[in-house]
Symmetry: C2
């Protein structure tokens, strides 16, 4: 006999266990928790996840997650269309939006250059950033990347690629501590770091 | 604009956030993790959970989780059919099975009497335990309940209900510390506590 009294339970435990940070014991608890919910509730739970995976889009312009071809920020006429803030991922956009200190556009790289992890410049959305800047409408590019070696490498690489264009390059100011992930910075520090951004 | 760049993302985050012990930040990570998996992988993930919820059964005899009407343990001819081990939940059955110290049958109460939580004797499967004992085949009932006040209350209540029947009542021995949940006891301690069970 397997460790589990039911093959179906085992499958559900393995599903939860496949999630990052969820061990087998927690996975078992989550699976058994499902039995305490009605079938309708569980259906709503799984539907939310599968609909998200099937239907969510990435903005054609900035690569942020979006329900439409163009995201709410890129299509918002009140945003400052002359400034782009370059970030690593979707969580970073959300973190900066929460500070309410920034009214420009974004560019989500979808990763960071990391020789250790085998992620090179062509694996993230740098070409499309260069294209946006080459369009001529952009006056300033703010680099809002984590203050890590990989962040520095990426910032350096992007500033080299943007050198030919008459665009002001800035980076978010001190306030994010060295070695700290941007995603976990508190809102006040992060907001101030955007206001006090400095020229590269 | 909402906190999330996408309504679909927000729904997925809320789904994960509805799970016990999963906060909003972890929920966001799990939702975004789904985007790194193929649509097929995500479909397998949600299918495992919904199939489990839709199709899993509870054994008609012992109330353990099962793929069939009668669970693998109750239908196994090699198990000792004269002994019933009474436990609070499915996790407890799995914990005791893992010790490989017990070859009898189980009875899953599906909860524990808890006046604080408003759970009374009729909310858990005590009547069906009495019926099984009344059947006459059972020689011994082992109480394997957590060493908490609620566990004591439940043990006391069940032993009163079984008093009229010529059945030996035992309880798992010292080894589980007072106030500790049975589910978290290490296998050696738990195994020994079953071997050294004492008469109530």
């Amino acid at each position: 006999m397997s460790e589990y009294p039911s093959h179906l339970l085992e499958q559900a435990v393995e599903a939860f266990n496949s999630l990052p940070g969820i061990g087998r014991r927690t996975a078992l608890r989550l699976a058994l928790h499902m039995l305490r919910k009605s079938k309708d509730e569980v259906r709503r739970f799984t539907d939310s996840i599968s609909t998200f995976r099937e239907e969510v889009k990435h903005c054609r312009v900035c690569h942020n997650i979006s329900d439409e071809e163009i995201c709410d920020i890129c299509s918002d006429p009140r945003r400052d269309r002359s400034t782009i803030c370059v970030v690593q991922n979707v969580q970073d956009v959300m973190a900066i939006e929460n500070t309410r200190q920034y009214k420009g556009l974004y560019h989500v790289l979808g990763g960071i250059i990391s020789p250790m992890d085998g992620i090179g410049p062509s694996d993230i959305f740098i070409d499309s950033l260069v294209e946006r800047v080459a369009g001529g409408e952009i006056k300033e590019v703010i680099m809002a990347l984590s203050s890590t070696t990989d962040g520095e490498t990426t910032r350096f690489f992007i500033s080299r690629r943007l050198e030919p264009y008459p665009v002001e390059m800035t980076t978010i100011a001190s306030g994010i501590s060295v070695g700290e992930e941007l995603e976990y910075t508190d809102e006040i520090t992060l907001g101030r770091s955007i206001v006090n951004r400095v020229k590269i």
